[in-house]
Amino acid sequence: MPGMSDAELREMTQEERVNALGMTTEQLTGKSLYIEFDPDAQERFAYPWAPDVDFNKRTEVDASDLTNTEVNSRVRDLMAEGYGTIVLQNPRGKHSLAVGILSRLNLIIEGSTGYFGVGLIDGPNVRINGRVGWSCAENMMSGTVVVEKNAGSTFGAAIRGGDLVCKGSVGSRTGIDMKGGTIIVGGDTGALSGFMMQRGRMVVCGNAGKNLGDSMYDGTIYVGGEIRSLGVDAVTADLTKLDREWLTRKLTQYGLMPGNGVDHFTKIVAGKQLWNYDNLEPNEKKLIL
């Protein structure tokens, strides 16, 4: 490494080595996180094939008699025609609605969706005026998804970026394997939330079920209510001024700021006793070890 000898690296703690190598333990990735810290960078992340949509051009799709594939095709066709605001009526719990949207779009879903709704998205702003089933927004890369009612299990599984918000309560394994982004739950969350979480932040305004943050590698979980139990290698940490400011900003943004503020939130992080946290490529590891 430039300006640093192997001997010097060997003298350092693991955390110092990682920092010296420019590898922070919380590498914020995902488009929306870049946007959050660098608004000017937004343009760089548009896919070349993304349709040029106009948010003022609005239309509706009635999903009553359409299959989920037909609904998704209709949404894509409308985006290709330049529609930037699409209202989806009568989704009636259908699965896999509005998946794979990789560009800007204002999507309003008037009702509830089934499994895997708005999965694999990168960019759209989605409001769901209903409930969502299991695995909502799985693998989301960026954008915002706001669910007005409750959500099923594995809410935000493996998301990498963006803001995923449920104003009601969610099922179990929320944010399992999340690798970035922000999940906010207005109510309670079930067991094993944050299981194997790697990066990003999760906020639960209500209570959390058992084994919270089990085997988490990194990232941060904030809980406003009671925690039934912490999982393996999940530990509490001090709530800093930065945490309070960030929580206040995010919860206010989505109308979920508790009346009694955020001082009572518990912060959970990885104890980092379970895994190898070198986070280095093999050739880099050779230099250090």
Partner: protein, 311 residues
């Protein structure tokens, strides 16, 4: 994967047959192998409805000889009923291999049921004052049509669409399971029970019988064991979470109750809709939406959650 669904109306009757059919048809993609219903009409003391199968559906392909054997089995059942003093009011051969009896009986129904099942090829699917248990190969629409379920009026019911993973595609492995010999108790299950053989041997030592190798049957036997020993349904459901290993969500119906239990991992789905008039539940919300097209509030029960509702 399998799909389960249930509905219970509070204090009134409704077309439970049509409601269950529509929910189960929407869950066909979770299990196309077989479909089953346990629906509950008005219970009548002393009058029993008995559903039984005298062969598997695939046995009907064995040729002419099977038909002669089926006639012999029916005669044997009738003789046993008579020997126990049962008065048969209705006898319907709904399918070549499935019969429905309505009978009066004031003796030990458990003893009578055991006697009937000594007949080769005969399995009682259900026996009770209000329960009608129907299960067969195919999807919900075809089973409902074959058994005339479309206009069944009742208070509550549960159902199942099966994807066979642990045992054969046949009627004996289809759900629901009747909690033999406990009247009016039925069970549907989505999941896998990992201490099945340990628990099965324990139940067999206590004198319970198993008709299939399907792990879900254990839940029916387990429930029957507790209810027969005076354990309330809710307590039985709670004990099962500690004593039965695996991933499961299951529903139990009694004459006037519907209960649910979810394992410690909450690995199997269930969506609940509760209103003042009724409670509906299914593996997926899309099933509930077939009877409530308008916007409704639903939620997922959590791990280790047990609920019991009264009709």
């Amino acid at each position: 994967m399998c799909g389960i669904a249930g509905i219970i109306h509070k204090g009134h009757r409704a077309n439970v047959g049509a409601e269950m059919t529509s929910m189960l048809q929407a869950l066909k993609h979770r299990g196309p192998d077989s479909t089953g219903y346990a629906v509950y009409g008005d219970p009548v003391e002393g009058a029993y409805v008995m559903r039984l199968k005298i062969a598997e559906a695939e046995d009907m392909e064995l040729g002419r000889s099977i038909h002669d054997r089926l006639e012999e089995r029916i005669e044997a059942v009738d003789a046993i009923l008579a020997s126990h003093g049962a008065e048969v009011n209705v006898k319907e051969r709904v399918r070549p291999y499935a019969l429905r009896y309505v009978l009066n009986h004031d003796g030990d129904t458990g003893d009578m049921a055991e006697h009937i099942e000594e007949t080769e090829g005969v399995e009682i699917l259900s026996l009770g004052n209000g329960l009608e248990l129907i299960k067969d190969l195919g999807d919900a629409g075809s089973v409902a049509e074959a058994y005339g379920l479309g206009d069944f009026e009742g208070t509550h019911g549960i159902g199942h669409t099966r994807m066979a993973t642990e045992s054969d595609v046949d009627i004996k492995s289809a759900h629901p399971y009747w909690a033999f010999p406990y009247n009016d108790v039925s069970v549907v299950h989505n999941g896998q029970i990992t201490n099945y053989w340990i628990m099965r041997r324990e139940m067999e030592r206590k004198g319970h019988r198993f008709m299939s190798d399907c792990d879900s049957e254990l839940l029916a036997v387990y429930t029957a064991h507790h209810l027969a020993n005076g354990v309330p349904l809710e307590e039985s459901l709670r004990r099962s979470i500690d004593e039965i290993d695996g991933v499961f969500t299951y529903l139990v119906c009694t004459r006037d109750q519907l209960g649910m239990a979810k394992d410690t991992m909450a690995a199997k789905p269930l969506v609940l809709y509760e209103s003042d008039d009724l409670i509906a539940m299914a593996s997926e919300e899309v099933a509930i939406r077939t009877i409530f097209p308008e916007e409704i509030d639903t939620h997922d029960p959590y791990d280790e959650e047990v609920r019991v509702w009264q009709a």
